[in-house]
Amino acid sequence: MSEHVHAIHPEPDMVQLLTPEGQRVEHADYPLEISDDDIAALYRDLVLVRRIDTEAIALQRQGELGLWASLLGQEAAQIGAGRALRTQDMAFPTYREHGVAWCRDVDPLTLLGLYRGTNLGGWDPGANNFNLYTIVIGAQTLHATGYAMGVVRDGAVGTGDVDRDTAVLAFFGDGASSQGDVNESFVWAAAGNLPVVFFCQNNQWAISEPVERQSRVPLYQRSSGFGFPGVRVDGNDVLACLAVTRKALDDARSAQGPTFIEAYTYRMNPHTTNDDPRRYRLGSEAETWKLKDPIERVRAYLTREARIEPSFFADVDAEAKKLAEHVRAGCRELADPTAESLFDSVYVTMPDELREQRDEFAAFVSEVGA
């Protein structure tokens, strides 16, 4: 590179509060006071969402789901971010944020419809302040930004009322960082000083493309070009993800504007159940990342440092087993869409010509089905 590098920075440390070995470490900018009980609760979250994921993959293999996008390896990023949200905050996921859904109290079965092909999502984003999954890469970052514009117009930032001030959390991937929409959302967020936090899970891969295809500098630096802060956090460290996201959301709620968070993590599984990563990456890469497993380090910490019930780990495992059964049984019971449902929500007010098509189709389906 040339010498007139006015605008390239030294790489700061990645924020880490819990080492892969399970040691608590401090970070001056991100002090985190958290009880062992709360850490245990995070452990439970991590284990349960991994279990949901495992179960969904199995269901896909059995033909019960058409597809699944696994979160394996990204549990800490999602639980850390998700647990930083307050009730009134709004989350905008991609198609992989099953862990965030969990934190928002969305029943995992709700997520399965679109992967099973019984609906296209079909949940109410307002019910748990968790937007519908968005498949077009990056599109949801603009939705999040627009939602944040609404929050500002509702007078729900910077009032000091903790139950009122609202932040928006937009999820996207390393690959998505190249999309025009994502960069436009940075433009809007910065120009409007909007209460939106951009949470990028850099899982190192966009299907088969390594992150180097998207950027030659660490992604957290992107936001500096737009005039708002960026920070890289250990995406496999649930405490660091919690602390960093909490801080960013606090800033957003208190009218201090947007933050970009790069959660440095790894997609342990294929991109989706359709993908074959042996074609493009070495298995040894995943082996290395396994040493940084987001759950193991919390378990190590709890085992060594915390006073928890002796039955704790067994209880969580039992709960996971029950959850798996819920997912398994519930998935098989998800109803197929009705013929009418394909037409009924295209418009709020259905045009006559579409009603005719609906009736024709419904008659056809009931005839063929009969």
Binding site: P125, H143, V348, P351
Partner: protein, 324 residues
């Protein structure tokens, strides 16, 4: 009938009414604030409703539409201005994959009451990308409604109906008529999504919308001088189409010409021809003819009036259809 206004003023008044009626209505776009838009359609609105409700956005159409989606999720009712027809395309993905599909994706739980205003069509002597007719792209997209006003009264009422509609509406404004002759504003609207017979006739039905309606009015006068009575239909709505009104007319006249500025092939005329032929097969004395833009990019302005559907081209088609 009350006062007489230009279409530009009628739209401005209609927008003002809509903003007064519902505090969730926000206007957003490039230069819509202080400038009042390059066509002054939003003139004075930022001054009166503030910068939070009339928003000068950064220069990016995908951002304009995408943030409107987010505002809609938050309960707002955004009205987006696209500065010129040819600049809707950077926002196309958000329109087609988000605005159009969101309500359906949510199984009806989230509404997208977004109005996208597009100053449209040619005839103003402009440079490339400033004179296009983009309605067909949106009409072919399930989940969107597409309407076009052709006069001040419709403009005034339809913009309010579009904004009040809980579905997303692509609102086509024939820019070359913005400051054409004033006309009176009706006391009440013709319901949107209905076509209107604007001139009764017996020999040939001619259907158009938006910018072509003034040309059709002239054509009907000229044809009448030759003893041919055109029945003119202002479609007003492109999606959904009001085919019953057209078919009813065609059953009487036996002949139909469809007119639009958008390119000929795979245009609105094709759909109307196909549907009317299906529904009135035995009434047609002649195939449906189309007078449209040609299958070329919009031409340099020095030849635009020849290229556009104009009086001569419409009368040619009338002659042709009468020969069947």
């Amino acid at each position: 009938m009350t006062e007489s206004k230009t279409m530009a003023k009628a739209l401005n008044d209609g927008l003002r009414k809509a903003m007064e009626a519902d505090p969730k209505v926000v206007i957003m776009g490039e230069d819509v604030g202080k400038l009042g838009g390059v066509f002054r359609i939003t003139d004075g609105l930022q001054k009166d409703f503030g910068e939070d409700r009339v928003i000068d956005t950064p220069l990016a159409e995908s951002g304009i539409i995408g943030t409107a989606v987010g505002l809609a999720i938050r309960g707002y009712r955004p009205v987006c201005e696209i500065q010129f027809d040819g600049f809707v395309f950077p926002g196309f993905d958000q329109i087609v994959s988000q605005v159009a599909k969101f309500h359906n994706r949510s199984a009806g739980l989230v509404k997208m009451p977004i109005t996208i205003r597009i100053p449209s069509g040619g005839g103003i002597g402009a440079v490339e990308h400033h004179s296009e007719s983009v309605e067909t792209y949106f009409a072919h997209t399930a989940g969107l409604k597409v309407v076009a006003c052709s006069n001040a009264s419709d403009a005034y009422w339809m913009i309010q109906e579009a904004i009040a509609d809980d579905d997303p509406v692509i609102f086509i404004e024939p820019k070359r008529l913005y400051h054409a002759a004033k006309s009176e504003i009706a006391d009440a609207p013709t319901p949107m999504y209905q076509a209107r017979v604007v001139r009764p006739g017996t020999h040939v039905t001619v259907a158009g919308y938006g910018p072509t309606m003034t040309t059709l009015a002239e054509s009907a006068k000229a044809a009448a001088d030759d003893g041919i009575e055109l029945e003119l239909i202002d479609l007003r709505t492109v999606s959904p189409l009001d085919i019953p009104t057209v078919v009813e007319s065609v059953r009487r006249t036996g002949r139909l010409i469809v007119v639009h500025e958008a390119p000929h092939s795979f245009g609105v005329g094709a759909e109307i021809a196909a549907r009317v032929t299906e529904q009135a097969f035995y009434s047609l004395e002649a195939p449906v003819l189309r007078v449209t833009g040609y299958d070329t990019p919009y031409p340099p302005s020095r030849l635009e009036h020849e290229w556009l559907p104009n009086l001569d081209r419409v009368l040619d088609a009338v002659d042709k259809i009468m020969e069947y």
